[in-house]
């Protein structure tokens, strides 16, 4: 475009030169003509004068030419006239020639002027057409276009600019157009424009440009300088292309990818991508962190190496089936690099399909289910344990019932006795089930709960009862039930026949612990009744039916390796129990542990 404009410029200059030459030629021809006309007129006037003189001479002469003087003068005048005529004739001829030449020149001039005028008109019309189409194009394109002079001051904008920005021409002109850019980027844009104008290099920025309603849209703004034949910048042309949709779509895509990556990298699952047949193309950082396998090493079928050798065929079969079923699912052990331990993982994947339903790739996760599997196993053990305990408890109830029946004389007697024992059993079940976080039952809680069932206690004591010993001595659960039943029988007997049967009697339960090897302590329990006068005469015929004594003397040693003694001092029963207790707290105590 610049070349064509330059060519037109040259044409114009040439036309102007030619016109100038024509004008000079015409002027000199006219001047020449005027000179010739002057000469002609002068000669004409002289001829007229000479002719008048000649007529006067002829009129004054007599009919005959007698006077020689007159004849002389006449011939002289005639001679002059003839010369003047000849001169006039020459001049007239010259004039005619000059006129003819002038006429010719004028004709030529007219023709050339006409020709040039036509050319100029054509060129002007072409120029106008070009400008019109340029303007039309400038207003037709969706881009914002503007032009600035060599100093970077804008002096022309296309219609789109005004329509989009809602600006008035005076607002935008100069560097006013920069004010349409978002305030946060305005200074940067201004500096960049100034730098481009100063260095004469291309300008390019992506900026938010404000529309008429005050909304901002992303534009790619580019500007290029135009230069003259001396390489001097004559102007700048700038174009702003709306890239809002692309930019926001790209931004949204970036955001979406960022969210995806954040999610993938944040989730505990190991995430990966694969193409048909299980050829991995990518794995999340978690996979690498877990397996110690680099992204590259996991690609293709490399991931298979992280699986337990025994589970690899399963994984491969799952992939073979996945092609048909459209889902991949299997369980297999994956090696945790840090601990060199295989952990169970549930691996799943779904195909990512295109619009035509073709599988583009597979997106998969491997979820650590090792803890769940262990918990499930643990739960199974607990359920098992619960059943075992319940059945055992039922067997114990059955056994107690049988014994109570055997030792009861009447149904009323049985009723009272069995109620008592079942209550004691219920209390100890309560103690066991109330244990928080699987903690063991402390002895002080057990003894006070049992004694409280028989007498009112305050802080473990009453006027007739003293309990003394360190708190928090924790008992093995296996010990609790039998010990509680034994203590229950002792307390029942004390209330019925011993220290608590009469106001003068007193019961003191004291205990202490001694170290007894690693994580073991020996618990010494001392049950001493005093102030009892009517002691049984025959120890072989115990008044409580001997059930309590059986539990103390036989059940505790049998079941718990306890050392016990049971006997009467002169003022009441003295019973001792020694049994080992653990010092550690189990995390979750089961009989399987």
């Amino acid at each position: 475009m610049a070349d064509r404009a330059g060519a037109r410029h040259d044409d114009r200059l040439k036309l102007r030169d030619e016109n100038e030459q024509l004008r000079t030629a015409l002027e000199s021809a006219l001047e020449n003509n005027a000179l010739l006309t002057d000469d002609n007129e002068r000669l004409g006037r002289r001829i007229a004068l000479l002719s008048n003189q000649l007529k006067a001479v002829q009129a004054a002469r007599p009919s005959t030419n007698s006077d020689p003087v007159v004849v002389e003068r006449q011939s002289q005048a005639e001679e002059e006239l003839r010369v003047a005529f000849e001169e006039l004739q020459v001049l007239t001829e010259e004039l005619e020639v000059a006129n003819t030449s002038l006429h010719q020149t004028n004709l030529e001039l007219d023709a050339r002027v006409e020709e040039r005028t036509l050319q100029i008109r054509e060129i002007n019309s072409a120029l106008r057409a070009a400008e019109t189409s340029l303007r039309t194009i400038a207003n037709l394109v969706p881009d914002l276009l503007w032009r600035a002079n060599a100093s970077g001051e804008a002096d022309w904008f296309n219609q789109r600019w005004f329509e989009y920005t809602g600006n008035e021409p005076r607002e935008s002109s100069g560097r006013g157009w920069i004010d349409a850019i978002h305030p946060l980027d305005r200074k940067k844009a201004r500096d960049a424009w100034a730098a481009a104008v100063k260095s004469g290099t291309s300008y390019q920025r992506e900026d938010l440009i404000c529309d008429e309603a005050g909304n901002y849209r992303w534009f790619l703004v580019r500007a290029e300088p135009t230069r003259d034949e001396h390489n001097q910048i004559t102007s700048w042309f700038a174009a702003g292309t709306d890239i809002h949709e692309q930019r926001t779509a790209l931004e949204a895509l970036r955001q979406s990818e960022l969210r995806f990556r954040t999610m993938v990298e944040g989730m505990p699952q190991l995430v990966w991508r694969a193409i048909d047949g299980g050829q991995w193309t990518w794995c999340s950082p978690q996979w690498s962190a877990f397996t110690g396998q680099s992204g590259g090493a996991s690609c293709a079928m490399g991931w298979l190496d992280a699986f337990h050798p025994a589970d690899r065929p399963l994984a491969q079969r799952a992939w073979a089936m996945a092609q048909e079923t459209g889902t991949l699912e299997f369980e297999g052990r994956i090696l945790q690099a840090a601990e060199q331990r295989f952990r169970h993982h549930r691996t799943r994947a779904l195909p990512v399909r295109d619009g035509q339903g073709r599988t583009l790739e597979w997106l998969g996760t491997s979820t650590d289910v090792d803890d769940i599997i262990q918990l499930q196993q643990h739960q199974a053990v607990l359920v098992d344990e619960l059943q075992h305990r319940t059945r055992n408890l039922m067997a114990v109830v059955q056994s107690i019932t049988t014994r109570t029946v055997r030792r009861s004389s009447t149904l009323e007697n049985f009723q009272a006795c069995i109620d008592d024992r079942l209550s004691a059993l219920a209390r100890v079940q309560g103690l066991l089930s109330r244990r928080e976080g699987g903690l063991r039952v402390p002895f002080d809680a057990l003894i006070r709960e049992e004694l409280s069932a028989h007498v009112g206690l305050e802080k473990g004591c009453s006027s007739q009862v003293t309990t003394e010993g360190p708190p928090g001595v924790r008992l093995r659960s296996a010990l609790v039930q039998t010990l509680a039943l034994g203590l229950h029988e002792l307390a029942t007997n004390a209330v019925k026949y011993g220290a608590l049967a009469k106001p003068e009697g007193h019961l003191r339960v004291a205990w202490r612990v001694e170290d007894a090897g690693p994580q073991e302590q020996r618990l010494f329990i001392d049950w001493r009744e005093t102030g009892v006068t009517d002691l049984p005469k025959d120890e072989a015929q115990p008044r409580g039916g001997g059930y309590g004594r059986e539990l103390i003397e036989r059940a505790l040693p049998y079941q718990l390796g306890a050392h016990t003694s049971y006997g009467f001092e002169n003022d009441g029963l003295h019973c001792t129990i020694e049994v080992n207790v653990p010092t550690d707290e189990p995390r979750l105590e089961t009989s399987h542990a």
Binding site: D384, A395, V396, V397, S399, Y558
Partner: protein, 123 residues
Amino acid sequence: MPDQPLQGCRVLVVEDEYLLADDLTNALTDAGAYVLGPAGSIEDAAALIAAEARIDAAVLDVNVRGEMVFPIADTLRDRGVPFAFATGYDQWALPERFADSPRVEKPFKGYHLAETLRPLISG
């Protein structure tokens, strides 16, 4: 069924719960058996087995003071001694190798115990 179906049989009892061990002992004695034990721990049971030249049958609690009784069961099987489990556990809680072993479920009946053991004992 004779009154004493286990007449003259030497039956080992392994059971940690005193009351149940006592009941088992009584039931077996009532059935005419001579009770070896009862043993309240795996250790005691192992010692008893080692010491006794003749054991005709055994009744084993599965969980003895937190230990599983299966090593004792294996020893008995090696010696050709038949046994039954006295247990509150379901069948599936037993290892597969004992799937066919008879069980006496708790709480048990004395006659049921004798009925279960009698067919196991040869001669």
